[in-house]
């Protein structure tokens, strides 16, 4: 038998031993203890027990109880996800490739727009290779020629998306708006006055002491920033408090009408979408438990900071410039995030192997020994990777050594909804649940990437899976998964 095959056979044994190390140590000790007690004899044992003074008994009971109580009190309070709801797109907002490209061609005739035939051909090629399907949606304002990009149209899109998501959520959970204690909203590229938080408080008549925050400009990973912030609020608030987290991206003001190639990509990828989630510190009716939120921001480096950058091109048209080095930078940010979250979620066996490989590389030089990639499939059953684009999902699948089934939720969310920015993770979770793959006790890893450059992770544990396939995938889940060719000729 080759040594590799032998090692593979020994791996499960090794994992069993290391992951249950305390048990492996405790069992022989316990057996030895029982044997020595048996040897001592019942009369001597009774004599020893009678010699015990009350203070010994008291300490033996009180000290462990006190230590246990102190430990339980000092632990941060658990935060639960009561439920979540995603914006359900309407067929009338659909933008098949033909519609999108015809619209783009007509925009080239508009005065003031620099976009030209070459740009439209470039966008055609991008769309064909993007991994998007024919059912993604753009807001009503973008169906007009010229597309409306003003304040009123933007507000209408926001109201449509977030109010319908919140209506769904409140109906699902039966929670009244007056019961919400915290409200965190994130939308990267549109921050009107009054803020989205004020709009929600106004629409639903929330209390005047609801603590609300609107996070802006924080990119596609802002959804997890909002979840982390809501968790902070809940952990320092009275028990049973609830937080409403709303994530969306407003597409209306961000249609780029220039011809800079790096800035045309967002036109092709970003689509309408939004999600609302209710978090609480009360486990009643909770469906998931939030175990970890880990944030990594690599903005201190110039390259990382500039890789997704909103700016004006040479003709003064504003858009988002996506740098060619995006994948490398995303890879680096992911490595940094994995290094931070690994010790918190991986079983001891993987951490030990990683540590040994790290030491070996240091001692023997990094040329001869490949870095050990911890197997995150031992820590999580499901993976929600931000559907930033096909390349992002492929890159992550390779880096984390995941199977096609693990990344299926991300690929299908990209196909059906496009890149909905910070809410994409919720659409992916909805896919996994609509497919009936979620079981009690399953652990989910949400990974978001975004401008900054940030890589944020959240780890959830399922308490109760969804009972039905209601949600954004209700009408189309039976058609999925679909095979997405490399180049989709339309």
């Amino acid at each position: 038998m080759s040594s590799a095959a032998q090692l593979k056979r020994l791996k499960p044994v090794y994992q069993c031993v290391v992951n249950n190390f305390l048990l492996v140590l405790a069992v022989p000790l316990a057996v030895a203890g029982v044997v020595s007690l048996a040897r001592v004899g019942p009369e001597e044992l009774l004599a020893k027990l009678q010699a015990l003074r009350p203070v010994h008994v008291f300490l033996a009971v009180f000290l462990p109880a006190a230590a246990a109580t102190l430990y339980l009190m000092m632990r941060p309070r658990a935060v639960y996800l009561v439920d979540y709801a995603c914006f359900r797109t309407k067929a009338s907002g659909r933008v098949p490739f033909g519609t999108f490209l015809e619209h783009a061609k007509l925009v080239t005739f508009i005065e003031g727009a620099s976009i030209d035939e070459r740009s439209v051909r470039f966008m055609t090629r991008l769309l064909e290779r993007s991994g998007l399907g024919e059912e993604t949606c753009l807001p009503p304002a973008h169906h007009y020629i010229p597309p409306f990009r003003n304040l009123e149209a933007s507000r209408e899109e926001v109201e449509l998306v977030i109010f319908s998501a919140i209506d769904d959520l409140l109906a699902k959970t039966g929670v009244k708006p007056e019961a919400v204690d915290f409200l965190v909203v994130n939308c990267s590229l549109f921050a009107p006055v009054p803020s989205f938080a004020d709009m929600i408080i106004h629409r639903y008549g929330m209390r005047s002491d609801v603590r609300n925050v609107h996070l802006s400009g924080m990119g596609c990973s802002a959804g997890l920033v909002s979840v982390g912030l809501a968790r902070n609020f809940l952990q320092t608030a009275p028990r049973g408090s609830t937080a409403l987290v709303v994530s969306t991206e407003t597409i209306t003001p961000n249609y780029y009408v220039g011809k800079e190639r790096a800035m045309l990509l967002p036109n092709c990828l970003f689509r309408m979408g939004g999600a609302a989630a209710l978090l609480s510190t009360s486990p009643a009716k909770a469906r998931f438990r939030l175990s970890r939120v880990v944030r990594t921001l690599t903005g201190a480096q110039d390259g990382a900071y500039r890789c997704v950058y909103q700016e004006e091109d040479e003709e003064g048209h504003r858009g988002i410039n996506l740098n060619k080095d995006l994948m490398t930078i995303a890879g680096d940010a992911l490595k940094a995030n994995i290094t931070a979250i690994g010790p918190l979620v991986l079983p001891a066996s993987e951490q030990l192997l990683f540590a040994l490989s790290f030491i070996a590389r240091r001692v023997f030089g990094s040329k001869g020994i490949k870095p050990y990639l911890p197997d995150f499939r031992m820590a999580f059953e499901h993976f929600c990777i931000h559907a930033g684009g096909r390349a992002v999902i492929d890159e992550l699948q390779k880096s984390l050594n995941l199977s096609d089934e693990h990344v299926e939720a991300s690929r299908m969310a990209l196909h059906r909804f496009g890149n909905t920015s910070s809410s994409s993770l919720w659409y992916e979770l909805a896919y996994i649940e609509a497919k009936g793959r979620m079981r009690k006790g399953d652990r989910v890893w949400m990974i978001g990437f975004g401008s900054g450059f940030k890589c944020n992770s959240a780890a959830w544990e399922c308490i109760e899976p969804a009972r039905d396939a209601q949600g954004p995938w209700a009408e189309c889940i039976s058609r999925y998964p679909v095979d997405i060719p490399d180049v989709l000729k339309h």
């Binding site: 941060p76 009054p194 004020d198 408080i201 005047s208 609107h214 924080m218 952990q235």
Partner: protein, 413 residues
């Protein structure tokens, strides 16, 4: 300079110029407030994205670098960063921009708030305070508040939107907060209570300060006539929750008893309502020594002065800040506090009440206790000795009063 800026807008007619003159003269803002570079370079009508970024960079380089240098805290020590800028949210966020500029750590918890109005400073404080409480170890938080004026000069003719041009000016603040006891010995103040009230549920209040299109495609912040009423309601709600935490039991008891008497008297119809109501105002001076009121405008300051029964000495810092710096939005409170510090008013053990109002409609308040020596002149270093000035009369009246004498409706310039 504001005069020349106004005259450059050729869409304005004579009634609009007269309206602006009235507003500017009554605004309480003097001749030394600041505007961004693109206004000086006569490009206020066509601001670029880069202009707005340059305005932010100028502020970051000055204020944050100065703060970190004075306190001896390295950028790598900052654990939490909260940035609030109401009217500008680029991608990547301004929080990321600061992280890059100063080289902060990868695991810094950065939060970028936008759209939250003039009271966003206290929202950021709330967020930072929560972040400090939720973390087990000693944490340093940097809270940065500023406003983006460069892209927001309103070039239309809607009067409710021209008010913004007359009031908002450039300014910013950076504050370092910590829960580290070892740093606490050097701390200037300790934060005690923070109360937030948001009456966005009410239609009129929600629409009182709104960014919208004016009908001819120009966007601006529209301040409606219902704003003072909304402010008053939000203030009442806020103080109702703040008072029991801040005031001594004796004052609360006194107020309760007088209220009871007033209700009894009213129910018997013995005295006039107004007379009795005016006599019964809760006395915040029993629990607080200094008042940092958001200098949103003279009307705001006078309104709060009347509601809380303050005197000219109490509102002087707010009035002088409005005169020297204009309404710098969320950071204005810190200028007011800095005035008090520069004038040597803050003694150890004194309590300071910060009160702000903002779009939404929100009224946020917090109470600080002075812990350390506060004698730093800060932004007022070069001019505090000239304040209060002998006369607060606005020079625009003298310079532009001829507008009121012009006959007809049109103005050829």
């Amino acid at each position: 300079m504001a005069g020349s800026l106004v005259f450059r807008n050729h869409r304005l007619g004579l009634p609009e110029h007269r309206f602006l003159l009235r507003v500017i003269v009554r605004s309480g803002i003097g001749e030394h407030s600041y505007c961004p570079r693109n206004f000086v370079e006569r490009r206020e009508g066509a601001p670029t994205h880069q202009d707005a970024l340059d305005e932010m960079d100028a502020f970051f380089d000055a204020a944050i670098a100065d703060l970190l240098h004075r306190t001896g805290v390295a950028p790598g020590d900052v654990d939490v960063l909260v940035v609030n800028v109401c009217m500008f949210s680029p991608g990547p966020s301004l929080a990321s921009r600061i992280v890059r500029r100063f080289g902060m750590r990868e695991d810094v918890a950065a939060y970028n708030l936008s759209g939250m109005g003039c009271s966003a400073g206290l929202v950021s404080l709330d967020l930072a305070r929560n972040a400090l409480r939720a973390r087990p170890a000693s944490v340093i938080a940097l809270v940065v508040s500023t406003e983006s004026i460069a892209p927001h000069w309103y070039t239309g003719t809607d009067r409710s939107m021209m008010l913004g041009n007359c009031l908002f000016r450039c300014g910013g603040s950076a504050a370092l907060l910590t829960n580290d006891p070892s740093l606490g010995r050097r701390a200037k103040m300790a934060l005690h209570h923070l109360v937030r009230a948001n009456i966005a549920a009410d239609d009129e209040a929600h629409a009182s300060a709104q960014k919208r299109d004016d009908g001819s495609g120009r966007a601006g912040i529209s301040l409606s006539k219902d704003l003072p009423k909304a402010a008053a309601r939000a203030l009442t709600l806020n103080l109702r929750r703040l008072a029991p935490r801040v005031l001594p039991v004796t004052e609360l008891a006194r107020f309760a008893v007088r209220n009871l008497c007033k209700n009894l008297v009213l129910s018997r119809g013995h005295a006039k309502k107004t007379h009795v109501a005016a006599a019964n105002k809760i006395n915040f001076k029993a629990g607080v020594e200094h008042f940092c009121i958001h200098p949103g405008g003279t009307a705001v300051i006078e309104g709060v002065k009347a509601s809380l029964d303050l005197d000219a000495y109490d509102v002087e810092p707010a009035r002088m800040t409005l005169h020297r710096w204009g309404n710098t939005s969320a950071s204005s409170l810190w200028y007011v506090l800095s005035y008090m510090e520069a004038k040597g008013r803050l003694k150890r053990g004194d309590r300071v009440l910060m009160l702000t109002f903002g779009s939404g409609f929100k009224c946020n308040s917090c109470v600080w206790e002075v812990k350390g020596c506060m004698a730093d002149k800060g932004a007022w270093a070069e001019c505090v000795d000239e304040y209060p000035p002998e006369t607060m009369a606005n020079p625009y009246m003298e310079k532009y009063s001829w507008l009121n004498d012009v006959q007809g409706d049109a103005l050829l310039l």
